[in-house]
Amino acid sequence: MHYFRPTSLADALAIRADHDVTVLAGGTDVYPVRTARRAWGDPAHKDVLDISAVTELRGISEEADHVRLGALTTWSALASAGLPPLFDGYVQAARAVGGVQVQNLGTLAGNIVTASPAGDGIPNLLALDAMVELASRAGTRTLPFAGFATGYRQTALRPDEIVTALILPKLTGARSTFLKLGARAYLVISIAMVAAVVATDAEDRITAVRIAVGACSAVAQRLTALEAALLGQPLGQAAGLVMAGHLAGLAPIDDVRATAAYRLAAAESLVRDALTDLAATAARRAA
């Protein structure tokens, strides 16, 4: 097994193009998978491309109309970056992933490439209308996040590509929240979760809203019917407008963590809670 640890993006992309490798960033998904396989006598591992020394992939920069998060940005770095309220939800997710040890290692890009239905970053990126920047030796392309996450643990990442950054467009006057439901306090995988972004006008009427639910379908989903119904409504009344039908597009499953029926009902409650939360923070700010 080869272990590559390039320090430049160009070298990393060359290795990626020429070898069949597992990309390694924070290792918080790669190592548990390796351990699980070994436990049942499967020790083989692909060559490893460790990108953690590639400086181009680091850093958070705030531009006029967007925030750019380098692929190696960890949950902890996101949480302490002091980003505007639009990103509150994503920051809440960062603080709810695993425990501090995992937050200090795990990267935002690793989370989306793993593409677990329970990945806490994913509904946030949908609600933020994020873009994913991908690079290969052939060049760079940018995809809307919704087009990147294609299925259960599947993404549009090509075998020769590396995620280089997440691009999060700004939205004036907007804020967000994230709610996660699990069976214990820390180190817990979501049973259901909701990320919501909202902007309001001076009369507290909703001018923009994006709500995404995770762990209730193979890929987290936006609730577009609900979003349409909420536009123009007073935020203070938004929670009361949520109806079961707005979640009809979700397709949760039964597993060891919960039943499908429960997930759906819980998601509905969480969506209301998220809207109530946002209304409360709006009210607090006004006061």
Binding site: M1, Y3, R5, L24, G26, G27, T28, Y31, P32, T35, A36, R38, A39, W40, G41, D42, P43, A44, H45, V48, D50, S52, S76, R95, G98, G99, V100, Q101, V102, N104, L105, L181, A183, R184, A185, Y186, L187, V188, I189, I191, V256, R257, A258, T259, A261, Y262, R263, A265, A266, S269, L270
Partner: protein, 917 residues
């Protein structure tokens, strides 16, 4: 395949020192620290980020060393528990003084996480402390004393545990006698040491629950892998290829002989270099499987025509337990109300943070096994049996044990490494992976209980009747113990004249169920306590009051016909929680009055637990020696698995002898040196071994007093090799160095042996199964989210009759830890073979899940116990889950009969109730 790859070097700064080490760049940092640099203070509990035992600081930030590639540590500053650092020193002292380290396996990770937290935030709130250590699991302490220790450091408080004077050790909160190495990271657990050049052993395990298999050409595999020393199969076992707890039921093979009965059963042992045994894929081995339909669950195993697991047990029923007193039909007739229920519980995993590990070495015609264990002498018997040698040829040296809770009573690794070391004549070590530990070692028995209980109009219980099936899995393990302990305890600590309890332990093609804190009693208590709440509701009696009316008391008769002459403190326990219960009830009523989403509820439950083995001789022997050099040595065969027996027994021995605890050296568990203390189980060490320790102390004292010609009130002190005995005005100094001889450096020795007085149970379960019982009453307060079905346990009041708290800090620690496990049983823990076989999917409580706990220690002296003490290890757990279930019911009106009460289960039950309304 390359068996011995040459690795590049990596340079890192460890605890301030530049270190360069050759290592696989993809090996985890945890592995490189431990195996490459010998820094074994960093522990590995899961190798997957789930337990935090491997927490170290990387450039000052806490990370799981098992998730960091060694190459990624290049040039980084790594701080481990071995570091010399003032903040870490303060944490060490605080952990020691507070009793925050029990088994100590989580302690290094906890201390590193706390150091990270306090370096960033010197005065954290409680919530911030929970956040800071939330990624480190502890299975022993319930986190309470850990958080207290961190708070103490944040406050700048000086951490001192009291030092007990001679004669004042019992009752003192002295620090653990074995605590210092635990907080320094120098305690040696099973995976922490092995002889230079030891071979590694990896067991190849069945992925099928029931299958036949044939093996192809293993010689060819061996030839292809030069690093392999041997591939062992069933036919290589030199002695009997079978082990088991009961002398008459040795049913479990070391390596399966062509037929497996559960997923995870070992079929082959690969022995060789670590790279070789870990590098061979199971799929590359010549194993041909013929899968057979498996019997999963007791219904399948009991169905007509079910294929037996064991030829000698045609109906798959391993044992039946039975107890009958009075006339249960008559008892029900006398009742004004009868409650009935069916209850289910699943497999529960011990989840000690230390997976099984150790090594074996052949020394001439003897074999020595150093491993984590709860029962050294039982291991000695099993090893002798499978290697085919006498017990005298086997030496068991227990390593520090990173938690047991019953799961390390059975042998696991010992027969494998002993056989391999015997045959290869080389030292052989093994370290189970977390998944291997979970898939192959014992669990708590799943249960299905049907019970009926009646009470008269005044609330006096008239009858209790239960039948319970316990899924004992593929092999017997402790199945018979569970089947026998449950009928005795199922009625609960109450006066009930008419009782009939019947149990069965049933074989299935699932992981063997064995001993786990409480031996079936926690499962039975869920049923009984729920029925009591039913009766209270029917009869319009308060739930605390109905328990108080029926609480068993001094002079009362148990369902086995035993009269409790002394130390029956349940009434006091109930009285101790009464005021708190009333307050919580009033607060809940006020909270719930306006309605709303969050419902508060309060529950109460009681428990009892017989200390020691059920109706069986279970003696313990202790020995204290005084050497020519003045060395006072306590030879204590009782293994301390974190519960504190090394400390408690020392306190007892010290006071019996009349010297301070600090004067003692101690040797624990080494079968060549220490007499048999029996196993660390059944909450017996404080009571049974405590008596032996006391007798040993008294014996040595008597010998010293005789030598000094002093009276019984004399006071002693030891200074080097001079022993001073003062008796009133008279004082005598004994010069130990002139006594004894060169050949025999022991001048005086005290010995004590104790076997609790019990009698056999007859066919109707009548007799004296235990010499004494522990009692408890617990009150739980919960908050339930009506929409999400989530439950937060907010407060627990726990009153425990422990006879005498020999060390209140340790007693409280046992209760905290028991409550945490009870909470896990009630709300989150469910082992599903193949699905929750890691600590990611199998959930145990974290620091953020614990309630505020108030403990009332009731000391209803046990005259038969050492200084009045009895056991507390298991009792701590039993009452918690039923109290939580009662509280949930009080909050939202649903009666849960299956645990764990996961959010979706509670939600479904609440939906069902709404539908019915």
């Amino acid at each position: 395949m390359l068996d011995r790859p040459a690795f590049p070097t990596v340079s890192l700064i460890v605890n301030g020192t530049d270190r360069t080490v050759a290592a696989d760049p993809f090996a985890s940092l945890a592995d490189t620290l431990r195996e490459g640099l010998g820094l074994t203070g960093t522990k590995v509990g899961c190798d997957a980020g789930d337990c935090g035992a491997c927490t170290v600081l990387m450039d000052g930030a806490q990370v799981c060393a098992c998730l960091v590639a060694t190459a990624q540590a290049e040039g980084r500053a790594i701080t481990t528990i071995e570091a010399a650092d003032p903040l870490i020193d303060r944490l060490r002292a605080a952990f020691l003084a507070a009793g925050a380290a029990q088994c100590g396996i989580c302690t290094p990770g906890m201390i590193m996480a706390a150091a990270d937290l306090l370096a960033r935030n010197p005065s954290p709130t409680r919530r911030e402390i929970e956040d800071g250590i939330g990624g480190v699991l502890c299975r022993c302490t319930g986190y309470i004393k850990i958080i207290e220790a961190i708070e103490a450091v944040a406050r700048g408080a000086n951490a001192f545990a009291p030092v007990a004077e001679a004669g004042a050790a019992v009752g003192a909160r002295i620090a653990r006698a074995d605590g210092l190495p635990k907080v320094q990271g120098t305690d040696r657990f099973g995976a922490d040491f092995a002889p230079e050049g030891a071979l590694w052993l990896r067991a190849v395990r069945s992925p099928h629950a029931r299958a036949r298999f044939t093996l192809g050409n293993l010689a060819a595999v061996k030839a292809a892998h030069p690093g392999l020393e041997a591939i062992l199969t069933a036919s290589d076992i030199p002695g009997a290829n079978s082990f088991g707890i009961f002398p008459t039921i040795k049913d479990q093979p070391v390596l399966a002989p062509g037929f497996v009965r559960y997923r995870g059963e070992a079929i082959l042992a690969l022995v060789g270099s670590r790279a070789a045994v870990e590098g061979i894929a199971d799929a590359a081995l010549p194993i041909t499987w013929e899968v057979e339909p498996a019997l999963i669950g007791v219904e399948a195993a009991l169905a007509a025509g079910a294929t037996p697991l064991h030829a000698n047990i045609p109906d798959n029923v391993l044992t039946r337990g039975y107890l009958e007193t009075g006339d249960v039909a008559e008892g029900h007739r006398l009742g004004a109300a009868t409650a009935e229920g069916r209850f289910r519980t699943g497999f529960v995993e011990h989840a000690y943070i230390e997976p099984e590990a150790g090594y074996a070495i052949r020394v001439g015609d003897r074999i020595e096994v150093t491993a984590c264990t709860q029962a050294a002498v039982m291991d000695q018997e099993e090893v002798a049996r499978v290697v085919g040698i006498s017990m005298a040829q086997v030496r068991i040296i227990p390593s520090a044990c990173g938690g047991g809770f019953g799961g390390k009573l059975d042998v696991s690794i010992q027969p494998l490494i002993a056989v391999a070391a015997w045959l290869t004549k080389k030292p052989v070590r093994i370290v189970y992976s977390r998944t291997e530990s979970m898939a192959s070692t014992t669990k708590r028995h799943p249960s299905q209980i049907h019970a009926l209980m009646s009470a008269d109009a005044e609330g006096r219980f008239t009858a209790y009747e239960m039948t319970g099936d316990f899924n004992t899995g593929a092999y017997a393990s402790w199945g018979p113990t569970v089947a026998n302990r449950v009928p005795v305890h199922a009625t609960g600590p109450y006066k009930v004249p008419h009782v009939r309890n019947a149990t069965r332990a049933v074989h299935t093609n699932e992981v063997p169920a064995g001993a786990f804190r409480g031996f079936g009693v926690p499962q039975a208590a869920l049923a009984g306590e729920t029925l009591i709440d039913d009766l209270a509701e029917r009869l319009g009696i308060d739930r605390w009051a109905i328990r108080r009316i029926n609480a068993i008391d001094h002079g009362d008769r148990t369902p086995t016909g035993q009269i409790l002459h002394a130390s029956a403190g349940l009434p006091q326990c109930l009285d101790a929680v009464k005021a708190g219960y009333d307050t919580l009830m009033a607060e809940a009523a006020a909270h719930n009055a306006p309605g709303g989403r969050m419902a508060r509820g309060v529950g109460v439950a009681c428990m009892w637990y017989g200390c020691g083995n059920t109706s069986m001789s279970n003696p313990s022997k202790m020995r204290i020696t005084l050497g020519r050099d003045g060395r006072l040595t306590f030879l204590n065969g009782a293994v301390d698995i974190g519960q504190g027996s090394s400390t408690v027994l020392l306190q007892i021995a010290a006071d019996a002898l009349g010297l301070p605890t600090a004067a003692f050296d101690f040797v624990v568990g080494d079968t060549d040196r220490t007499p048999d203390a029996g196993k660390t189980s059944a909450s017996r060490q404080t009571f049974v071994s405590g008596n032996a320790a006391k007798l040993a102390g008294m014996d040595l004292r008597a010998k010293i007093l005789a030598l000094a010609n002093a009276g019984p009130q004399a006071r002693m002190s030891l200074d080097g090799d001079r022993l001073t005995v003062e008796d009133g005005e008279a004082s005598r100094v004994i010069d130990l160095s002139v006594l004894g001889s060169e050949a025999d450096a022991i001048v005086l020795a005290g010995e004590g042996e104790y076997d609790p007085p019990t009698t056999a149970l007859d066919a109707r379960g009548q007799g004296i199964p235990y010499a004494t019982y522990g009692f408890a009453a617990q009150v739980a307060e919960v908050e339930v989210d009506r929409l999400l079905g989530t439950v937060k346990v907010t407060r627990i009041l726990a009153a425990h009759d422990v006879g005498r708290a020999v060390n209140p800090t340790l007693t409280e620690g046992q209760i905290h830890g028991g409550i945490a496990q009870g909470l896990g049983l009630a709300l989150m823990e469910e082992y599903l073979p193949g699905r929750t076989e890691n600590l990611h999917d199998y959930l145990i409580p974290t620091a953020g899940d614990m309630p505020e706990i108030t403990i009332h220690l009731v000391e209803d002296t046990e005259p038969e116990g050492p200084f009045g003490a009895k056991g507390v290890g298991e009792p701590a757990l039993v009452a918690t889950a039923p109290a939580i279930l009662g509280a949930i019911r009080h909050a939202v009106g649903v009666r849960m009969t299956e645990v764990p009460v996961l959010p979706h289960r509670l939600w479904a039950a609440m939906q069902g109730r709404e539908a019915a309304e």
